[in-house]
């Protein structure tokens, strides 16, 4: 299968290059900080605590940017360095190429976070910190979801960018927009709307921002949903039902399949139009 060939090669390249190790070092440092965030009493009801809240934010600053840069640059450089020109003379579909690269980069990134979590987990166990299993599991799931969704966006950026410089600029721009500027922009923008349409608009827009989407839903499934207040009460109740969870998974899948599919389409369309 071509996908696996491409994927394996991507993994191999990933772990032969220094950037993966610098990301690994940064992420491990960040996850070690988990040990120093005082965890407080553990409640069975609730995994959303100061530890998880603070840590989720650290991850939100770091992981989407990491994923976007890695993914976008990897795809753009294929074009810019002419490797794709050669491969396009091969009996290889754009689908296998992009999907394989996506899968490979996903594994590379997941290895980076697994190493960070695994190491800080073991150290915390020996230091007698006693982090709850579910806390770490949820943050792990949170990180994996962020990677999945942002990697989809990353390959798309890589496909539309003409060169590395452009890919870098767009990646940083999108990260800034979705992670840092998002609340302020929305508060400023939506405040102009009639009161009754603020919340519905906001709810819809959440689905267009993977950072918010994942943050809100993981908070919700960790038992912190009520912090979003009465306006989201019914929303939260609904998403706690199996149908809601299923819907969330479906949205994530649409994101991944949509962005990767769009990238493949774009890639194929550009194939003979150099």
């Amino acid at each position: 299968m071509d996908i696996f060939t491409i994927m394996k090669n991507e993994i191999k390249l990933g772990f032969r290059n220094p950037w993966a190790y610098s990301f690994l070092a940064i992420f491990t440092l960040v996850s070690l900080s988990l040990l120093f965030i005082q965890s407080g009493p553990i409640s069975d009801l609730n995994q959303y605590t100061k530890t998880t809240g603070t840590f989720m934010n650290l991850i939100l600053y770091l992981l989407p940017l990491m994923t976007l840069l890695l993914g976008a640059l990897s795809i753009t450089s294929e074009k810019e360095d002419g490797r794709w020109n050669l491969l396009s003379t091969y009996p290889l579909s754009s689908f296998a190429f992009i999907a394989g690269k996506y899968a490979g980069m996903f594994i590379v990134l997941s290895v980076i976070i697994s190493f960070g979590f695994g190491l800080s987990g073991l150290i915390s166990a020996f230091m007698g910190q006693g982090l709850s299993f579910y806390t770490v599991l949820w943050i792990f799931i949170f990180s994996i979801l962020l990677i999945l969704l942002f990697l989809g966006m990353a390959v798309w950026i890589g496909a539309v960018s003409k060169n590395r410089w452009q890919a870098l600029t767009i990646s940083v721009g999108i990260w800034f927009l979705l992670v840092l500027a998002w609340p302020i922009l929305l508060i400023a923008g939506l405040s102009q709307l009639p009161y009754a349409s603020i919340q519905p608009t906001l709810e819809i827009l959440i689905f267009f921002n993977p950072a918010e989407l994942v943050r809100i839903f993981v908070t919700l499934y960790m038992g912190g949903g009520h912090i979003f207040g009465p306006e989201y009460y019914q929303w939260i109740e609904w998403f706690h039902k199996p149908a809601g969870a299923l819907f969330f998974m479906l949205v994530c899948m649409v994101w991944v399949l949509g962005s990767v599919g769009l990238t493949i389409w774009k890639w194929e369309r550009n194939r003979r139009h150099v």
Partner: protein, 409 residues
């Protein structure tokens, strides 16, 4: 049959109720002791209370009361008069548990009151309900599945201690009371631990309010329009909001341990309160405040605060300030609450810090917690260690076999 025994008894008699089923309504209208070893069950399903206690010095002990009613505004036990003793009763009620009306200097102790778990909270009534009743002691009761655990209105100098309320709306609800002592009680998994409203001279101490978070307006302790209260040595943990203090003044709030709540303390239009030596640890957000600049807030420990102690007095020279930014935005447009702890929001809050003079400010926050919380040397579960090892194995596998190892022949 039981009623006949009561009617025939003379004041001061002790009636030992034989084991068996009895049906209410029963009225005790003279000083009597009615007791059982728990084998006597009194059932009632009418609008009248199952047992009505009148007169003086009535003791009910060890009875089991089952009160069934489609109407929530009915009572299992109604008490009027003074110097009664209700002890060791097991009450299962569809309406109120024990209702005191103009009943004074009575003791309600060691009872178990269970509401109807199948009904929504708004269709239940209070476990113990006082109106215009003074100088009573309510102690060691266990209350579950009711509306409010202990509700007191326009009642004075009651002592509520060592009760345990769970799975209800409010654990303890005080309305327009004076001189209430609320001590050593526990409230868990209710909408609010203690709702203290319109009271004077209330003492709230040594209580534990935890895990009030399954409701959008959940909180550990709420003070609204409260004056001259002493709130101290309470443990308030894992609630949505630890303490909400609103429109209240001249209260002293100290040495409470407020931990692991989503929001530690909220102050809204609260002025001239003394807030000192509290521990605020492991709360997702330590404090929010609006229009609450004029409180004496000093010497609390805020774990989110990066303090700096230059002169070695254990207090930071850098003040802790509760940022009202987010609260102010959300107050007008609650829809924006969805940005709670959004990374961009946190980023923005750190960027925009102006006019901090009007913020609630702890001028000398503590560097170390007031009392060292027990060093939580929890051992990790095997599951957790296993998971960590699994993650490491996964990463080593791909780094080595997927990456580093060269393909040779």
């Amino acid at each position: 049959m039981l009623q006949r025994m009561i009617n025939e008894a003379s004041p001061g008699d002790v009636i030992k109720v034989p084991a068996g089923e009895y049906s209410g309504p029963i009225v005790v209208d003279k000083p009597l002791t009615v007791q059982s070893n728990g084998a006597a069950t009194i059932r009632g399903s009418q609008l009248d209370p199952v047992i009505t206690v009148l007169s003086e010095q009535v003791t009910l002990d060890g009875l089991k009361i089952i009160h069934q009613s489609p109407d929530k505004d009915t009572r299992a036990i109604l008490v009027e008069g003074n110097h009664h003793n209700l002890n060791n009763l097991t009450i299962r009620t569809d309406g109120y548990g024990i209702v005191l009306r103009d009943a004074h200097q009575s003791r309600i102790t060691e009872n178990t009151i269970t509401g109807n778990a199948d009904r929504p909270v708004s269709e239940r009534q209070n476990g113990i309900d006082l109106f215009g009743s003074h100088d009573n002691v309510i102690a060691n009761n266990d209350i579950i599945y009711v509306h409010d655990g202990v509700y007191m209105e326009r009642s004075e100098d009651n002592k509520v201690t060592q009760n345990h309320v769970t799975n209800s709306r409010y654990g303890f609800h005080l309305m327009f009371t004076e001189g209430t002592i609320l001590s050593q009680n526990q409230s868990e998994q209710n909408v609010t631990g203690a709702m203290v409203m319109g009271t004077r001279e209330t003492s709230v101490r040594d209580n534990q309010f935890s895990e009030q978070l399954n409701h959008v307006y959940a909180q550990g302790l709420l003070l609204y329009d409260v004056q001259n209260a002493e709130v101290h040595h309470n443990v308030i943990n894992a609630n949505l909001v630890g303490m909400l203090i609103q429109d209240s003044k001249e209260n002293r709030i100290y040495q409470n341990h407020v931990a692991a709540n989503f929001i530690g303390v909220q102050l809204l239009n609260a002025e001239h309160n003394d807030i000192f030596e509290n521990n605020f640890v492991a709360n997702v957000v330590s404090g929010q405040a609006q229009h609450s600049a004029f409180n004496r807030v000093q010497g609390n420990y805020w774990d989110s605060h990066m303090g700096l102690d230059l002169d070695g007095d254990d207090h930071s020279e850098m003040a802790f300030r509760a940022d009202p930014f987010f609260y102010t935005i959300v107050k007008d447009k609650p829809a924006f609450q969805i940005f709670f702890q959004a990374p961009g929001m946190v980023f923005m809050e750190n960027l925009l810090k102006s006019d901090t003079n009007l913020w609630m400010t702890d001028t000398a926050p503590l560097i170390e917690p007031v009392t060292e919380s027990e060093v939580e040397n929890r051992s990790s579960s095997l599951l957790f260690i296993g998971f960590s090892v699994l993650l490491l194995l996964y990463s080593f596998y791909f780094i080595y076999f997927g990456g580093i190892r060269k393909y040779e022949t």
